[in-house]
Amino acid sequence: MSAQKPRTLFDKIWDAHVVETLPDGTALLYIDLHLTHEVTTPQAFDGLRAAGRKVRRPDATLAVVDHNIATDDSRRTGIVDPESRLQVETLEKNVVEFGVPYIPLLDDRQGIVHVIGPELGRSLPGMTIVCGDSHTSTHGAMGALAFGIGTSAVEHVLATQTLLQKPAKNMRVSVDGNLAFGCSGKDIVLAIIGKIGTAGGTGHVIEYAGDAIRALDMAGRMTVCNMTIEGGARAGMVAPDQTTFDYIAKTPNGPKNEAFERALEWWKTLPSDAGAHFDKELRLAAHEIAPQVTWGTNPEAVLPITGIVPNPADEGDEAKRAQLQRMVDYMGLTPGQRLTDLKVDVVFVGSCTNSRIEDIRAAAAIAKGRRVADHVRALVVPGSGLVKKQAEAEGLDRILREEPQFRRPSGPRRADPFVEPCHGRRGGTRGPFGRCA
C-alpha cells in the first residue's frame, strides 16, 4: 500500500483502523484505547444497562476518577460535594458491573486521565484513542490519533469498540529552528493559536513538525497537542521518534522485550511520507516566538510578553470590538499597558496541560533560591500520584514548599488556567480582576 500514494501520519493511522466504509463515506473506525472518567460516563453505562449490552473490550478500556477530585485531603476523608461524590460512586459501581479496569482513588497511579495514559504506557504510537473530554488530543503527542467524544459516542465505543467517523483533513504546522530562552511547548502552541485563531484548525487534524517540535520532550509535545483543541482542530499529533520510543521504554505498562521490538517496527513506519499531501500548511520560525501571555478571557487573546494591551477602538469589526472591550473590562486592564507591567495574583502550574514531572522540574528550577512575591499565591499541582512520588523522590517538593504550596494530585480542568479562571470561578480563589499565570 505504501508503494502507492504518499500518506500522512494521520492517513496511516486512519487507514489501519477502518473496519468498513459505509456508502456515504462514513468510516466505522476501530478504537484501540478508551479512557473513561466519572463525568461523561454515567449516562453511557446507563444506556448499556437499559439495552442489555456489555462492554466489548474491557481490556482496551481504562477508568479513572479525575475531574471531581479536589486538591485537599477529601480523597481520604470523603468528597464533600454530594453531586461530585455521586459521580465518583457511580463510576465505581459501573466498573465493577461491567468489568472495566479501574484505577482507584488512593492508588499511586491515579491522576489526570491525560497525564496517566502516556505515563503508564497505555497511550502508544499508531493507536486510536478516545475519551469523553476535549483535551484527549494530548495523547497525539505519542504519535497516536486521539480525540474527545460526547457521551453517546462513549456508549457507542463501550458497546462496539468503534465510532462512526468522517475523515478529517490534514494540516501541518512546522516550527523550524531553535526556541529562544524561556520558551516552551506552551509558547509554541499559544503562538500558533494566536496566528490561526480559535477556529483555525476546524475540520483538520494537525501534525506538528519541524526542529523545534522534535527538540521538545514528551511533556512539551503533550502540552502542544493538548491545546490543539483551543485552535479548533479535531486532534493534534507528533510523529513518533527516538524521544517517543525512549519514553515508552520506561513506562510500567508499555510493551516489553519482544513485543516492544515488534511494536517498534510498526511505529517506525508511521511518520508522514515525503510528498504526502496536506490540505493546509503553516510554518513558523521558532526564534521569532517570544514567551506568550494570554491577557484576556480566551486563548486567542494571546500576545508575546513584549506586547501591549490592545485598544478595542482600533478593531474594525464591531462584534470583535465589543468582545475585546468586554475582555479588557473583565480583566481590569487599560489599553496600551505593557504586559510586563501587569501585576500577577496567582501562579498556577498544573492541569492536564502542565502537570507532568518535567513541568514540576521546570517550576522547581525557577523556584530554587528565590522566593514568591508577597502578593502572589503560587500553586503547583502534580498531575498524578506517580508524578507526585517522583517529584518527592527528586526533592522538588522541598524546593517548592519553601514558598508555594505544593499540592496533592488533582483533577484536570477544575483549575486549568485556560478553562476555569476564564469562565467559572470569578470571585472565587482569584477574586475579581485577578490575574493568573
Partner: protein, 203 residues
Amino acid sequence: MQAFTKLTGIAAPLPKANVDTDQIIPARFLKSISRLGFGKNLFANFRFKEDGSENPDFVLNQEPYRKAEVLIAFENFGCGSSREHAPWALLDFGIRCVIAPDFADIFNNNCFKNGVLPVRLPREICEKLMEDAKMGGNARISVDLERQVVVRPNGEEIPFQTDPLRRHLMLNGLDDIGQTMQHAPAIDGFEDRQRAAQPWLYT
C-alpha cells in the same frame, strides 16, 4: 430513542445567532448522572434571575411557549462545548425540533443521536417562521420528517433536506449502536487481524 415522524405544535421564537451549548445548559448544571432532568435548567441564565425567580421577558417563561415543542433560532445554533447535555436539556423540556439557518457540527450530531431533529432552512425562511412563531398559540407549525417538509400556519409547505441514513434512524427510533451492531462480523474480523499483527494491543 423515541422515533421522530411528524410533529405539530407550538414553536418558540429565539431570534439570536450563535446560541452556544453553555447558554442552552450552563456548565454548573452538568453534574447529574442521568440523561433526564436537565429541562428545568434549559437556558437557565436567560430563564432565571440571579435570585432564582423567573425572568418574565424570556420566551420560554411566557404562555403558550412553556409548552413549545419547536424552537426557531438563527445562525450557528449549538456552538461551543461538545456537551451532549444540550440536546438532553432541550428534549427534557419538551423541544423535539430546532429550526435554524445552520448548526454547529457536534451539536447537530448529538441531536440526531437523541431524537431531536435539527432542521436547516435559509435565513429568510427562518425569519418568516420566526414571525409565525410570534403569533403564539394561534400558530402551530408542523414538522414532517417522513415527507421532509415544514408546514407553516398558513398551510405553505417548505421542503428541507436530511441525511438519508440519519433520517432512517430517526424515523425508526434506532440508535447508532444498534446500527453498528449489524457490522459485528466485520468488527470480529478486524480484531482477529489486528490481534495477529499487533498483539501488544490485546491482553
